[in-house]
Amino acid sequence: MSQERRDILEMLAAGKITAEEAERLIAAVERTPVDASTSVGVESSNRPKPKYLRVVVTDVRGKEGSPVNVNVRVPMQLLRAGVRLAGLIPQPAMEKANLAMGHRGVHIDLGNIKPENLDELVDQLNDLTVEMDEGKGKVRVFCE
């Protein structure tokens, strides 16, 4: 028996709620996880897989204040290949890279990025949008 159902029955036993209310609450508790899992599944299956990672940088610090734009589109296939290649980095070099990234405030263990969980990682990138707006400059990172 789940904790929610037990709580509802205890409230019913204590006379805090009526039998009809308890029935409605139990029905709602039973329905909620199914609905949530269904909606997430439908959403993720309907959404097309991202093909590219786009980085757009706009900065108004060029000559005579003219805007400078940098637009980079990286195919996900290239990212996959890059991670596979990173998986071949020898352990001592990997530790040095992790240490160097840690010094710069990026605490990621590169050894944890494996080809097995790469697809999951790329799927999660679909939801990623990073926007930085700092006065004259703007950086956008997103998947498309």
Partner: protein, 81 residues
């Protein structure tokens, strides 16, 4: 196909370079470097075949890459089909 685009003060040009020509130019360098790469793999304990496969995937994964830099009337762009 590799497309390079340059633009400066309203004038510019595009360059279309077939990728196989680039690979042909790179082939001798790859052949020369291959024994060293395999030796390095052997020395570092990495599987040479996996390294070559990853390198090949990296090359084939380049398709769709786009890099563009624009500043006022200047523009440099690279696109790989």
């Amino acid at each position: 196909m590799l497309t390079l685009k340059f633009r400066k003060q309203g004038r510019g040009f595009r360059l279309w370079i077939p990728l196989f020509l680039v690979w042909l130019l790179l082939l001798p360098i790859v052949i020369v470097l291959l024994p060293f790469v395999l030796l390095a793999c052997l020395f570092l304990g990495t599987k040479g075949f996996r390294a070559l496969a990853a390198g090949w995937q990296l090359l084939t994964g380049l398709r769709g890459t786009h890099v563009e830099f624009t500043e006022a009337a200047h523009c440099v762009a690279l696109h790989i089909w």
